[in-house]
Subunit: 474 residues, 2 copies
């Protein structure tokens, strides 16, 4: 039995690890297009910031760790075609020659590639000019090289999503003056505007110049004597012209699934062009499984969508690796749980926001509450902003968004909501949960329960209150 | 409709608040034996340590806050008897006169009183001698007064449970040299010995002199010229004689339910002498409900037990207040979720340990794992010790114990286990949970999932592995 995984990132490696764990007798080969298997892409901003001192530390596991599990790695080896009927891969070897790898079962984890937005001049410029996209280790080395070579004083970041925000922090930590341009109404558009505004204020506080409702339309080289190497044109909120001269431009506006190999092999494209997959990670081609950012995402509240996240890729890869060996595993589904640290703030979300829930035929209403991370009498208590979304017909929890200072345990408090969503709890029933309490770290009703109770008071209690009033009248 | 609550602590106040919230038309009176309604008893150690600067800050709500909800407070008023048939209370007014309070519905939250262990001389000494028990605000004022008057250089704490440990930290913070004597094999006996040993080491690190497997047998006044005002005798692990001269003795060895009023009124005593109550907080006497530390605890895994906790009292009081108004609420049950901060360490638990689970006819096995709180490449990662207990026949999660440094989000990570227990998840299924991840605050598999996976590898995988091996052989 020979299991082959394409892709050295979360999905491919998770599949390979799971297979080796379940059956040490199975042969496992992972084919990796570059020389960097099992690197933590999510850690790149912290290498760029200087907090991670050597890029090799970004590896979840070293090459030696991986080989110690008994898997074989074929690095710098590009798969150019999948021969489904013949159960073999056509590959380009590191030396450029073509060869074939036979498989009994195949797990494809080709991941995603960064989106190139329609900016004039972007295709004519590259790392040599200080213009960068950022997704792979190769991109990381190129950016790092630019930073050393150019020693930029200023940088412009296109996009204020997770990576854009982490990079704004990272470049600021290097002493670079950052301008950040976001097309949508507020930074961190994965949370509601009122919460994104808190992140915006944190960026302001740290000297990042933020432009929302703004787009970059053109990037070119600056004219001699300019205050920077690159000239960037854009449009502001009322279509007014904007322009900047900066030393470096970073374009981080999201990713799209890398599906060419699978589509060429006969796979079907689904949501956002990602490959259709069922909960077993089967894609409808014999002996071929796929996982991670290249496939659609089963979401517990939404059905099938596309929501590429490392945590999901790990889980899907694990399921694919198990099923490739004849297992019966199923991917339980994503809830879109996410968290990001931006300077001294932590923002998290899980489940749906109102517009997403409404589109999926729920009846969402939301309440924003402020609740201290721990008892106010114990020093250092700080408020967490918690926005709870629930269904006003059923009382079911639909989602939660949290923002608090670093140290307020927001990252693990969002997990409480994620678990409530996993088990499809009603908002009101969150008051039943036996959560931990000690004055330095919580409250008798935890912040998440206070937020749930605020939602209930606003959206559910009047009817209940009347019921009680009637009953109390006997 | 007149609802009366006896007791100004968590249960009584929660019942009163809930009633006022559900029906602003209901009359609510809370009868409080002292002058300190709605104080956070859990916060006392932080007042003694000096971190809470004024005792009045320990109030969850001020007197004015409480009255603003529309409830009436009768302070310094001691209920001496419940006349169930007559639906009235006999009370001793602040001026010492006797009177009666009529009620339509009654919620009793008399709480608990500190256990007085059988120590020779304890009954002859008191606050005036620097010998203290610690449970009420009155006890707190007495201790505070002793600290100011005696200015102790040394103190001995009998007991190393939650309050004992918090007080060891609090007194150490005041510059007092603390000796701590624990009867059982390790400090923090609510967790397994291997985890308690980590807390023990933390106490050592901060200069607390810990004696485990040791008891205090006698307390008396020191002879003139001694190195302290009080002479304490004890027995060590092999019954060897121990003795200490110290300036202050604090006895904190747990609580017992305060049930006299209810038992006299006809209530039945159950586990550990606490009053029997059903999940609606009814105690079998007409129009009388009870909640908090004076009643037995419904536990989701154990059935009926006695496990007094503030979080539970809040929930039970809320249920009692709702049902007193004709509601249909049920207390969903405790999981014994607890957390304590001891200097720079946080220890938490939820659910059952092996001996508790075995007694309740589960088939418990445990695995202890070390998992970093966040990715090791990001600065400041620290290991969390996580001991997972599960049933080796069913794979069901039974409990978890966690110890980590302050800042490793242990208090909210135990909540993830608490929620898994609430929903009776299998340990293996915890890998399905969509928990949050960003490198500064977590891992793609959160620490709790890594611990769950370690349990599965040790206790469940061999059979599964064979199954897969068989299936893979086709």
């Amino acid at each position: 039995m020979h299991l082959v995984a394409i892709g050295g990132s979360d999905a491919g490696i998770s599949a390979a690890l799971r297979a080796r764990e379940l059956d040490p007798g199975v042969d496992v080969t992972v084919v990796v297009a570059d020389a960097y298997p099992n690197f933590s892409i999510c850690g790149i901003p912290y290498y760029i910031s200087g907090e991670v001192t050597h890029w090799s530390n970004l590896a979840h596991r070293t090459h030696a760790d991986l080989e110690a599990t008994g898997m074989r790695l074929r690095l710098d080896t590009l798969v150019t075609a999948i021969d489904v009927a013949g159960q073999r891969l056509k590959v380009r070897e590191p030396n450029g020659t073509e060869s074939f790898i036979d498989y009994d079962e195949l797990v494809v984890g080709t991941g995603a590639v960064p989106v190139r937005p329609p900016i004039d001049g972007l295709d004519d410029l590259g790392p040599a000019d200080g213009v960068h996209l950022l997704h792979s280790m190769g991109d990381t080395f190129a950016l790092s090289e630019s930073l050393d070579r150019i020693e930029p004083k200023t940088a412009l970041i296109v996009g204020a999503g997770y990576v854009g925000l982490e990079m704004a922090e990272g470049l600021t930590m290097r002493g670079i003056k950052v301008t950040q341009v976001e097309m949508l109404a507020e930074v961190l558009p994965t949370v509601d505007v009122e919460l994104g505004a808190l992140v915006h204020a944190e960026l302001d506080r740290h000297g990042v110049m933020v432009h929302t409702n703004s787009t970059v339309t053109r990037i070119g080289r600056s004219t001699a004597g300019s205050n920077g190497r690159l000239h960037v044109d854009g449009l502001g909120p009322d279509d007014e012209a904007l322009s900047w001269d900066v030393d470096l431009v970073l374009v981080v506006v999201g990713v799209r699934p890398d599906t060419e190999l699978l589509i060429d092999a006969g796979a079907k494209a689904g949501a956002r062009g990602a490959v259709e997959v069922d909960e077993t990670m089967a894609i409808g081609l014999p002996h071929v499984w796929a996982a991670g950012d290249c496939v659609v995402t089963h979401h517990r509240l939404l059905g099938v969508t596309y929501l590429p996240l490392g945590t999901t890729a790990h889980k899907q890869g694990r399921v694919a690796g198990e099923n490739a060996l004849g297992g019966q595993a199923r991917f339980a589904g994503s809830l879109g749980t996410q968290v990001v640290k931006v300077f001294d703030l932590v923002a998290a979300r899980t489940g749906l926001r109102e517009h997403e829930a409404a589109k999926a035929s729920y009846s969402p209403v939301s309440t924003t509450a402020l609740a201290d991370d721990h008892k106010a009498y114990y020093p250092g208590a700080r408020p967490i902003t918690i926005r709870v979304t629930g269904d006003h017909r059923t009382g079911e929890l639909l989602g939660a968004q949290l923002i608090g200072s670093l140290g307020t345990e927001v990252a693990k408090r969002v997990d409480t909501f994620a678990m409530a969503l996993f088990h499809r709890m009603r908002v009101d029933d969150m008051s039943e949960l036996d959560l931990s309490y000690t004055p330095p770290l919580g409250s008798p009703w935890d912040a998440v329960q206070m937020a749930a109770q605020a939602w209930v008071r606003e959206h559910e209690l009047p009817a209940q209150r009347n019921k009680f009033r009637d009953q109390a009248r006997f």
